[in-house]
C-alpha cells in the first residue's frame, strides 16, 4: 500500500518512544489553578463570579464574550480568588482567573443524564459544544462550535479526523487513540452528524501503526469510517497539508478548508465532543505529554490551568539544568520565559530541554542550496523572502507570499547555514499586520 502524503516537508527524529508507552495518568491538582481568559482564538471570556465564591468542578467561571468566544469551566472544587496577571504560554502576561483548590473535597465530576444522542437535533449539538467550552485541541484553539457552522453554500465532501501528530516528542493524541478509541469514534460520529460529509477519514501517520490498528478495529461499529495511513513526515498534521495528502485538493491562498469541501478536526477535539455530549462534561482537563529531558516522561490528564512547574515536578524532575521549556512540540511550540506558565486548552505537550540540546549555532551566509525551497510545504521561497525582509522590503516579501507561511519551522530546520528563516518570517508577518492596522 502506498502511503499518502504532500510535497515538501522534513524528517526530524520523532523522539516519541520516550513517552509512547506511558498510560494516561490522572494527577492530583496543584494548590492553585490559573485559567487565562484568552485560552482560544477570538475574544477573551468574561469572568462571571464574585471574589471569594465557592466553585464546583465543572462549574462555569467565565462566559463567552461575543461572537467568536467560549466560556471557561473550573477543573476543581475550590475558591474563586479573582483575576491576576499571569505569564501566558503564548508569551506576555495575560489576565487569569485564580482558583484555590480545595483538596479535601475533591469529588470527581458527576456525569449528567443524557437524552438519546441520536434524537438531539443538529443545532442543539452545536450549542452543547459551545456551552462546554470546546476548542480545537491541536494547538490553534479555534472555537469548535464556530468551525462546525459551515456555510450552507459549502458542501463538505471529506471530513478528516487528524490523528497524525507529526510534531516530534508529542504522544497525547496517540495515547488517546490507543486508550479511548471507541470514545473518540463516538465523538467523530457526532461531528459527522452535524456536518454530514460524504466520506470520513481517520488519518494516522505510519509511525503509529499500532494506533492505526486499534482505531481500525472499531470499524465494525462505525462502518462509515475510512482509515488512511500517511507517510511519516513533518508537517503532515497541518490542516492544508493533510487535505492535500488525502484528497489531492489544495486550499487556495488565504482560503479555508471548506473552500475545497473539506473539514479537519483533531482526535483530541473529537474526544472532548464525546465527553460533552455523552457525559455533559465541559472541557476542563486534557491529555498533556510532559517529555524531553525529564526522569519519567509521561502522559497526564491535566486540569487546565496547572502550572508547568508542577507538571515537571511530577515527572520527578529534569535531568541536568533546564535550559528551555516549550509549550507544544519543538518545531512549532513556543519557548517559555517563565516556568510558572500554565496549561491552556491548546497545550498538547511540554518539552523540557537541557543545555546540550539547545546549543545555538551561529548563522552563516546563504549558500543557495535550496534546501529550504525543497522542504517548504507551502511552496514558498524562504531564502528569497528572507533577503527581502532583511532589506525591509516588506511589499516584496508579501508578494512572495510570506503571509501564507504557517511558521512550521521546516526551512529553519533544513537550512545548513543555520539561518533563522522562520523566525524572520514571524517578525515580518507581525510588521505587515501592524502596518495594515
Amino acid at each position: 500500500m502506498s502511503l499518502l502524503t504532500f510535497k515538501g516537508g522534513i524528517h526530524p527524529t520523532c523522539c516519541k518512544e520516550f513517552s509512547k508507552d506511558s498510560k494516561i495518568k490522572i494527577i492530583e491538582p496543584p494548590d492553585f489553578i490559573y485559567l487565562y481568559l484568552s485560552q482560544h482564538t477570538g475574544i477573551p471570556s468574561k469572568p462571571v463570579l464574585e471574589k471569594g465564591a465557592e466553585v464546583e468542578i465543572g462549574q462555569k467561571v467565565a462566559k463567552a464574550a461575543g461572537k467568536l468566544s467560549v466560556g471557561l469551566h473550573s477543573p476543581v472544587n475550590g475558591t474563586y480568588m479573582g483575576t491576576v496577571m499571569y505569564p501566558h504560554p503564548l508569551g506576555g502576561m495575560k489576565e487569569a482567573i485564580r482558583i484555590q483548590v480545595n483538596k479535601e473535597n475533591s469529588t470527581p465530576f458527576k456525569e449528567k443524564e443524557r437524552a438519546k444522542i441520536s434524537n438531539i437535533p443538529k443545532q442543539k449539538l452545536i450549542n452543547i459544544i459551545k456551552d462546554n467550552g470546546i476548542v480545537g485541541m491541536g494547538g490553534a484553539a479555534f472555537p469548535t462550535y464556530f468551525k462546525l457552522q459551515v456555510p450552507s453554500s459549502k458542501k463538505i465532501k471529506d471530513l478528516i479526523i487528524n490523528g497524525v501528530e507529526c510534531e516530534p516528542f508529542l504522544t497525547s493524541d496517540y495515547r488517546l487513540m490507543m486508550e479511548k478509541c471507541e470514545e473518540v469514534m463516538k465523538g467523530v460520529d457526532i461531528v459527522r452528524r452535524i456536518i454530514n460529509p460524504e466520506n470520513v477519514w481517520i488519518a494516522i501517520e505510519a509511525n503509529k501503526l499500532d494506533a492505526f490498528e486499534v482505531m481500525k478495529s472499531t470499524s465494525s461499529l462505525f462502518p462509515w469510517a475510512n482509515f488512511a495511513l500517511l507517510k511519516t513526515k513533518y508537517p503532515q498534521g497541518s490542516e492544508k497539508q493533510l487535505i492535500d495528502a488525502i484528497t489531492g485538493r489544495k486550499v487556495p491562498e488565504g482560503g479555508l478548508p471548506f473552500d475545497v469541501n473539506a473539514y479537519v478536526q483533531n482526535v483530541g477535539t473529537a474526544f472532548a465532543i464525546y465527553e460533552a455530549v455523552y457525559l455533559g462534561k465541559p472541557l476542563f482537563e486534557r491529555v498533556v505529554t510532559v517529555t524531553g529531558n525529564v526522569r519519567h516522561q509521561s502522559n497526564f490528564l491535566v486540569p487546565i490551568g496547572t502550572p508547568f512547574e508542577y507538571l515537571i515536578k511530577l515527572t520527578e524532575g529534569p535531568i541536568g539544568k533546564i535550559s528551555k521549556i516549550i509549550n507544544g512540540g519543538p518545531l512549532m511550540g513556543i519557548a517559555q520565559s517563565q516556568i510558572s506558565s500554565c496549561v491552556v486548552k491548546g497545550t498538547s505537550g511540554i518539552v523540557v530541554q537541557n543545555e546540550t540540546e539547545t546549543l545555538k549555532k551561529e548563522p552563516s551566509p546563504c549558500i543557495r542550496c535550496a534546501a529550504c525551497v525543497d522542504c517548504c510545504p507551502m511552496n514558498l521561497l524562504p531564502t528569497e523572502m528572507y533577503k527581502h525582509i532583511e532589506m525591509n522590503r516588506l511589499e516584496k516579501a508579501k508578494e512572495m507570499g510570506v503571509l501564507s507561511c504557517m511558521e512550521c519551522g521546516s526551512c529553519s530546520y533544513a537550512c545548513p547555514a543555520n539561518i533563522p528563516l522562520t523566525q524572520q518570517f514571524k517578525i515580518a508577518k507581525s510588521r505587515i499586520t501592524k502596518k495594515v492596522n
Binding site: M85, P87, H88, G91, G92, M93, S323, I334, A335, Q336, S337, Q338, T358, K360, P420, Q423, Q424, K426, I427, S430, R431
Partner: protein, 283 residues
C-alpha cells in the same frame, strides 16, 4: 598634405555641427529648475533619514516647493531649518513650538530590573518583544539596541548596564527612535525641561515592585505634590502634561517626593553617562 587636411577638416566640421546641435537642444529643451529647491536642499541636514516621510532630503526639498511637505517638515533640521526654509519660500513659519530632545523612559538596567529568562533568538528588540521579552517588566527596555542602529544621527548608544542613552548633542528630535522602539520607550520632550518621568509601566504597585526597583507604582503622590494639574494619571502610570508646564521648577516637589524614585533629571543622567565615552559627531 591633403591626406592630413581632409580628415582634419571633415572631423572638425562634424564636431562643429554636433556641437551646435547640442547647444541648440540644451537651450531648446531646457528643464526649468526652481532654484529654491537647490537652496532648500543646501539647508537640510543631508543625511536622508526619512523622518519627514520623503525618501530623502532632495525629495523633501522638491516636495516643499511643490507644497506636499510643510516648511517645518524636517524634524532633524529643527526650528533653525524651518525658519530658513520659510524665508526662502516667503511664508511665515507658524510653528512656534520649542526645540525637543529625545529621552528614554525606562530605568530598568541590569541592577534595577529583574530578568526572568535568557534569550538567544534573533538579536533584535523587535523579535524579543514578539516573544514576550526576557524581563520581568513587560513594558521595560529590552536592551538589544534596535534604537541604536535605527538612529541616523548616532545619537543613541548602549550603556554598560544594558540601557541605551541619548547623546543630546547629536539628537535632532527626528522621532525615529520613538517609532522604532517596540516598547515605545522614547519620548520627545521640550529641550528646556530637565525633569521627567522615566517609566512606561502600567502595572499595579505589587507587580512593579516584584520586577523593578524604580518603576512607577501609580501611587499618585506626584499629582498631589505638584500644582496646576501638570501630572495626570493614565491608569497606573503618571504622565507629565508638557503643555501645562511653564517652569521646570514646578516638577521639583515630585522629583523629591516620588517614593519609587522614578523622576530623573536629564542633566544628571548625562553626568552619569559622561564617565562612559560620550561621542560627539564632528559634523
Amino acid at each position: 598634405m591633403t591626406q592630413v587636411l581632409i580628415p582634419v577638416i571633415l572631423l572638425g566640421g562634424l564636431t562643429l555641427i554636433f556641437g551646435a546641435f547640442l547647444v541648440f537642444s540644451a537651450e531648446k529643451f531646457k528643464v526649468k529648475k526652481d532654484e529654491r529647491v537647490e537652496k532648500i536642499h543646501e539647508i537640510l541636514p543631508g543625511i536622508d533619514c526619512g523622518a519627514c516621510g520623503a525618501p530623502g532630503c532632495a525629495a523633501f526639498a522638491q516636495g516643499v516647493v511643490e507644497g506636499t511637505y510643510a516648511v517645518n517638515g524636517c524634524k532633524a533640521g529643527g526650528v533653525e531649518a524651518a525658519d530658513k526654509i520659510s524665508e526662502i519660500m516667503g511664508v511665515k513659519n507658524e510653528d512656534t513650538s520649542t526645540e525637543k530632545v529625545s529621552v528614554l523612559c525606562c530605568l530598568g538596567d541590569k541592577e534595577t530590573a529583574k530578568r526572568i529568562a535568557e534569550y538567544d533568538g534573533i538579536s533584535t528588540c523587535e523579535a524579543l518583544h514578539l516573544m514576550g521579552g526576557d524581563k520581568g517588566c513587560q513594558y521595560g527596555c529590552l536592551g538589544l539596541g534596535d534604537c541604536v542602529s535605527a538612529c541616523p544621527f548616532d545619537a543613541i548608544e548602549m550603556g554598560e548596564k544594558g540601557l541605551p542613552y541619548v547623546i543630546e548633542e547629536n539628537c535632532t528630535a527626528c522621532g525615529i527612535c520613538v517609532e522604532t522602539c517596540p516598547r515605545g520607550l522614547f519620548e520627545l520632550i521640550p529641550k528646556d525641561q530637565d525633569i521627567y518621568i522615566a517609566c512606561r509601566s502600567y502595572d499595579d504597585a505589587r507587580t512593579v515592585k516584584q520586577v523593578c526597583s524604580r518603576g512607577c507604582t501609580g501611587c499618585t503622590l506626584c499629582t498631589r505634590v505638584t500644582e496646576g494639574g501638570i501630572i495626570e494619571m493614565e491608569g497606573k502610570l503618571a504622565k507629565i502634561q508638557w503643555n501645562k508646564i511653564k517652569d521646570n521648577k514646578m516638577l521639583e516637589p515630585a522629583l523629591e517626593k516620588c517614593p519609587a524614585n522614578t523622576f530623573v533629571k536629564r542633566s544628571e543622567l548625562r553626568k552619569k553617562v559622561k564617565g562612559e565615552q560620550l561621542k560627539i559627531n564632528a559634523k
